[in-house]
């Protein structure tokens, strides 16, 4: 670790000013990702501005929806009665991530902004465009089991590891940001970038942009929603692929649907093509399969992750099938 200074910000504006004014500064949430990266030499901020104790730790009811403070701990969010009632997909996504101990410290904003688990990104002795722009991508021709099948570029094939974010993207979440230029909101789906030729940038946030909240809109049918996560071990491991889904049925037809995929792309992947395919159609296993296949038609698997295409399809079908059965 290189030496750094530590500042506990008193309010959001102070935090933003402190980071914006120093190119090497970074916000610190629970530190479960950033501090690991500092130890590994992946990150080397010279100033840590601790935002985990800002008064952003509340979950508030809005018109039919929820506003989740950026500093709300993952475990508190998962346990929140309104989350469990209105957005079970989110509670389950949270509970399927990391471990109890980690969730007790990890924050909402930190979870959204955790970085890829690509092994080369974490190994500072190997080239990686995301860590050192222009140095090359070691995953090309290397180990790609955890890597992307959708939306990757020749410069980077990494995936975003968050479970929570997949559920939030499915729920049309909106992110509230306070930046040096003031406050703004943007859809969570637009926060994340595809790697393109600038894989060093995971999101569209600028230096000094502080996430202060995530807003979940009113979405009554999300009461029937589910998160399924396929992984190597029964607990405490990252997704190979995951599915967040909410299903609104009208008899045997799909009135509306939300579908997002994890573990398949540089960002939580909103499956808009599959959704379009499903809306208004029959809620049958065949239709679910066709929708999944429509979404995955664009998949470009790598030598080490070809299995993800079938696995994702099967996971989507199984998730929707279970939701449909419950609706009957």
């Amino acid at each position: 670790m290189i030496p750094f200074e530590y500042l506990r910000a008193g309010d959001p504006a102070e935090a933003v000013a402190a980071v914006a004014g120093r190119p090497g500064a970074a916000f610190l949430g629970g530190g479960t990702n950033l501090v690991d990266h500092m130890k590994l030499g992946v990150a080397g901020p010279d100033l840590l501005v601790d935002v985990s104790r800002l008064p952003l730790d509340r979950v508030e009811e809005t018109a039919g929806g929820l506003r989740i403070g950026a500093a709300v701990r993952n475990s508190d969010l998962a346990a929140h009665p309104l989350v469990r009632e209105r957005y079970p997909v989110l509670a389950r996504a949270l509970l399927s991530g990391a471990s109890g101990q980690l969730r007790n410290v990890a924050t909402t904003a930190g979870n959204l902004l955790q970085r890829t688990r690509c092994p080369y990104f974490q190994d500072v002795t190997t080239p990686c465009n995301k860590r050192v722009p222009g140095s090359g991508c070691s995953a090309a021709g290397g180990y790609t089991r955890y890597h992307a099948i959708l939306g990757a570029s020749e410069h980077c094939v990494a995936t975003h590891p968050s479970d929570m974010a997949v559920a939030m993207v499915a729920l049309d979440a909106v992110v509230a940001v306070l930046g040096p230029g003031g406050a703004r909101t943007l859809p969570l789906a637009e926060l994340y970038r595809l790697p393109g030729d600038a894989p060093q940038r995971d999101t569209v946030l600028e230096h000094g942009d502080l996430i202060i909240a995530v807003e979940l809109p009113h979405l009554p049918f999300a009461r029937r929603s589910a998160y399924r996560k396929v992984r190597d071990r029964a607990s405490f491991s990252f997704a190979l692929v995951s599915v967040a889904a909410a299903l609104d049925l009208d008899g045997g037809l799909v009135r509306d649907v939300r579908l997002a995929l994890g573990g398949v792309a540089h960002k939580p992947w909103r499956a808009t093509r599959a959704e379009a395919e499903l809306r208004g159609g029959p809620a049958t296993e065949d239709a679910f399969r066709r929708a999944a296949e429509a979404e995955l038609a664009a998949a470009r698997p790598l030598p080490g992750n070809a299995f993800k295409v079938a696995m994702t399809r099967n996971a989507v079908v199984a998730t929707l099938r279970a939701l449909a059965e419950e609706g009957r």
Binding site: R228, R231, A306, F307
Partner: protein, 765 residues
């Protein structure tokens, strides 16, 4: 002498371990907790490359940092520059070449651990990267493969030849099998504290498996006589073979001697993955020939083990793979070639099961194929070929103590199977939900407890696509060191009056690595001496060698030494009592003072395998374990839930039931890990997952409840008739789980660990 009433907590009792409560409470002092005022912290600079020439090393920038006391390279090694368990081929610090990623190049001592790490990073090393040799099969078998060491890439080739090759079989099955690189995954990283002594020597407190073999390797490198290198065992947080080789011992001692200050080194978790050997990955080709009714006629096998960059214990691992390569089965004609090869992968060496694990996975997979080909059940094929007392192994060695394999299999197969799957089959899927709700699980819908289903709390299924499978595995493991090794332990036992009460002090150098040996030593002393109050002194080199805490040997060998020393003490006490009848033990001790005896204990001698024929009585004791695994597999997603593991093991004599069950549970879990989860991911000689976030060991959700039956057929050659117990369960659980997954899926699955994609892809393409 009037012996007081028989003690409780002697041999056979679940005597509590002195370290147990402390460990559970987080109060146990591990080696990483060692502390001396004024000590310095050591750090190690490691090679980022699997293979490179070192063109230059500049320690100047590191030395210039404030707080840095020493920066040492190979030039500063006072004595021998190389060390090793079997061959001294491993540099203390890389000389002109690095042969694996993570090889130590320079060491630093500083007044703060972070300063030491930064100083290590400031050392400038110029490398000229070379192509890495990473394919062990090429290294072993292709003469055109570049050499990792000048003497050739084959560390050891051990053939076994018995009978004649390939005659008269009516059924032939062949298979190629692969085992990935498993890590011991102990929780306490490598750690120790070296203290410079006034006599020019060094006192080293370290977490290790064998103090004396450490000393024997450290002293020549420090150019010190052995009596000036004194080791004391510090708290060990697991070992499983990974502490047999040296890690930081010489480095900390060098820094302490150079700076004149105590120096502590603790590896971080990531560093630990580079700081110890791993289990050899293996490629195995097998051919089994049998009669139509399933009796083995011949077995041919080629076993290639990846030894990595240095020798470590690879030769002995090859000896095990070769000599136990057909498993506990009777077969006349055997043709085995086992190899270990040097590569630029991490050095591989000892890990629980030691060469027998890899072969067991292959021969058991073959037995299942043979069963299918002969139309027999997995149990029946094994029973028909099972060894028993009097059987001859492929090496010509006769099993001369009880080996009731057929009966063990019968007992295993007769155990009740676990209840129906945790899920309700389709149609009645809503059942079982009330339980889930009663346990306060999230969500409002009714569904089964996901922890009992494949995919666990990822909630990937509620029963759809789930199939059950049952599989069996059998393993045979040599106990104690084999092939002519002078394998002994030493115990000093002293009986005296303390506070007016008879008290026994047991002193050995045997390493408590978590297996419960401290408790067992005390139990033996209580039983042999009839004394309740027993203390086991800290293990150190002021008493003779105890040998290694490996090869499931300590209860046998150190247990034997403690027993022998106690018997010698008892004989002297009895003589005193005879001369002075009517006195109690306390009165005798009061009158004559303390009685102390030291004894060495050796097991029966063994011989090396013949280098051409592989014949010879190479093992002193053989142990059997059998497992049945029941799994539920979600074939759509490739996820496996092990529902139950059942095991039957013959341990000869139970010394401590609780500790023994812990050993069987733990060994079974480690075997389950190898079957489904645990693999160090290597690419081009680089370790890709050096963390417990990315190297996956089973959690309590992955490990099922176990059903155990423990048999006590004594081995007349061993103390109390006991049979070493720690390793055998690690062998047989892996093939049992793999076989169960095969039974559920119908897939060949020739490689462990089995990954979800191996199942899901095959099923849904």
């Amino acid at each position: 002498m009037k012996t007081e009433t028989r003690t409780s907590l002697g041999v056979g009792a679940s005597a509590p371990r002195p370290d147990g409560a402390l460990k559970v409470a987080g109060a146990f002092a591990y080696a990483s907790d060692l502390w001396l005022d004024g000590m310095l912290w050591g750090a190690t600079l490691r090679s980022p490359h699997p293979s490179a020439w070192i063109r230059s090393i500049d320690v100047g920038p590191a030395l210039a940092l404030p707080g840095v006391f020493a920066v040492l390279t190979h030039e500063d090694v006072p004595g021998a520059k190389f060390y090793g368990l079997e061959h001294a081929d491993q540099p203390v610090l890389a000389v002109d070449q690095v042969r694996y990623q993570g090889e130590p190049v320079a060491i630093v001592a500083a007044d703060h651990p972070e300063t030491a790490r930064r100083a290590a990073a400031a050392v400038v090393v110029e490398y000229e990267v070379r192509a890495a040799v990473t394919d062990a099969r090429r290294a072993a078998l292709d003469p055109a493969c570049p050499l990792v060491h000048p003497g050739g890439n084959v560390v050891r080739h051990q053939p076994v030849r018995a009978g004649s090759a390939g005659s008269g079989a009516e059924v032939v099955v062949t298979g190629e099998y692969e085992v990935g690189m498993q890590d011991q995954a102990f929780l306490g990283p490598e750690a120790g504290l070296a203290v410079p002594a006034d006599d020019g020597g060094v006192d080293l407190y370290v977490a290790t498996q064998w103090l004396h073999v450490d000393r024997d390797q450290i002293a020549p490198c420090l150019a010190l006589p052995e009596d000036k290198v004194r080791l004391t065992l510090a708290g060990v947080g697991g070992a499983f073979g990974a502490r047999e080789d040296l890690s930081m011992q010489i480095h900390a001692s060098m820094l302490a001697l150079r700076t004149g200050r105590p120096v502590k080194i603790v590896y971080g978790r990531e560093e630990s993955f580079f700081g110890h050997v791993h289990r050899h990955p293996a490629w195995m080709r097998y051919e089994h020939g049998a009669t139509a009714d399933g009796r083995l006629v011949y077995v041919k096998a080629e076993i290639v083990l990846d030894g990595g960059a240095y020798c470590s214990s690879s030769p002995a691992v090859v000896g095990n793979a070769a000599s136990l390569g057909v498993g506990p089965y009777e077969v006349e004609n055997v043709w085995i070639d086992a190899y270990a090869a040097y590569t630029n992968n991490p050095p591989c060496g000892a890990m629980r099961g030691f060469g027998a694990v890899q072969a067991c996975y292959a021969y058991e997979s073959q037995m299942d194929r043979l069963a299918a080909a002969c139309g027999l059940s997995p149990v029946e094929i094994r029973v028909r070929n099972a060894v028993s007392q009097g059987s001859r192994l492929a090496t010509g060695q006769v099993i001369d103590s009880p080996a009731p394999l057929a009966a063990m299999l019968g007992e295993l197969a007769a155990m009740p199977l676990p209840g129906p799957p945790a899920y309700a089959p389709s149609g009645s899927r809503r059942q079982g939900g009330s339980g889930a709700r009663a346990r306060g699980m999230i969500g409002t819908r009714e569904e089964p407890d996901p922890r009992r289903l494949p995919g666990g709390v990822g909630r990937t299924t509620r029963g759809e696509g789930v199939r059950r499978g049952v599989g069996y595995g059998v393993g045979i493991k040599n106990i104690c060191f084999s092939e002519g090794f002078d394998d002994y332990s030493t115990a000093r036992v002293r009986v005296e009056l303390l506070g007016g009460e008879p008290h026994a002090l047991v002193h050995t150098a045997a390493a408590e690595v978590g297996q419960g040996l401290v408790a067992v030593q005390a139990q033996i002393a209580r039983t042999e001496l009839g004394v309740d109050r027993v203390t086991v002194a800290p293990a150190d080199t002021s008493v003779g060698s105890a040998g290694s805490s490996s090869a499931s040997r300590q209860s046998y060998v150190t247990g034997g030494a403690v027993k022998a020393a106690c018997e010698a003490v008892r004989r002297r006490l009895e003589a005193l009592a005879a001369a002075d009848p009517g006195l109690s033990l306390g009165e005798l001790l009061d009158r004559y003072g303390p009685v102390e005896e030291t004894r060495e204990y050796r097991h029966r001698p063994t011989v090396p395998l013949d280098p051409v024929t592989g014949q010879g009585d190479s093992h002193t004791q053989l142990a059997l374990c059998v497992h049945r695994a029941v799994v539920d597999v979600d074939v759509e997603l490739g996820l496996v839930k092990v529902v139950e593991l059942a095991a039957v093991q013959d341990v000869g004599r139970i010394l401590n039931p609780l500790a023994l069950e812990g050993q069987i549970h733990g060994g079974s879990a480690q075997g389950l890990g190898l079957a489904l989860l645990e693999e160090i991911q290597m690419r081009d000689g680089r370790v890709l997952n050096p963390s417990f976030t990315d190297y996956l060991i089973p959690t309590i959700l992955d490990m099922p409840p176990m059903r155990l039956s423990i048999l006590e057929n004594p081995d007349p050659n061993a103390p109390y008739g006991l049979r070493g117990a720690g390793e055998p369960p690690t062998l047989s659980s892996t093939p049992a789980v793999a076989a169960a997954v095969r039974a559920a899926t119908g897939l060949a699955l020739p490689r462990v660990p089995i990954r979800p994609e191996d199942i899901a892809l095959a099923h849904t393409g």
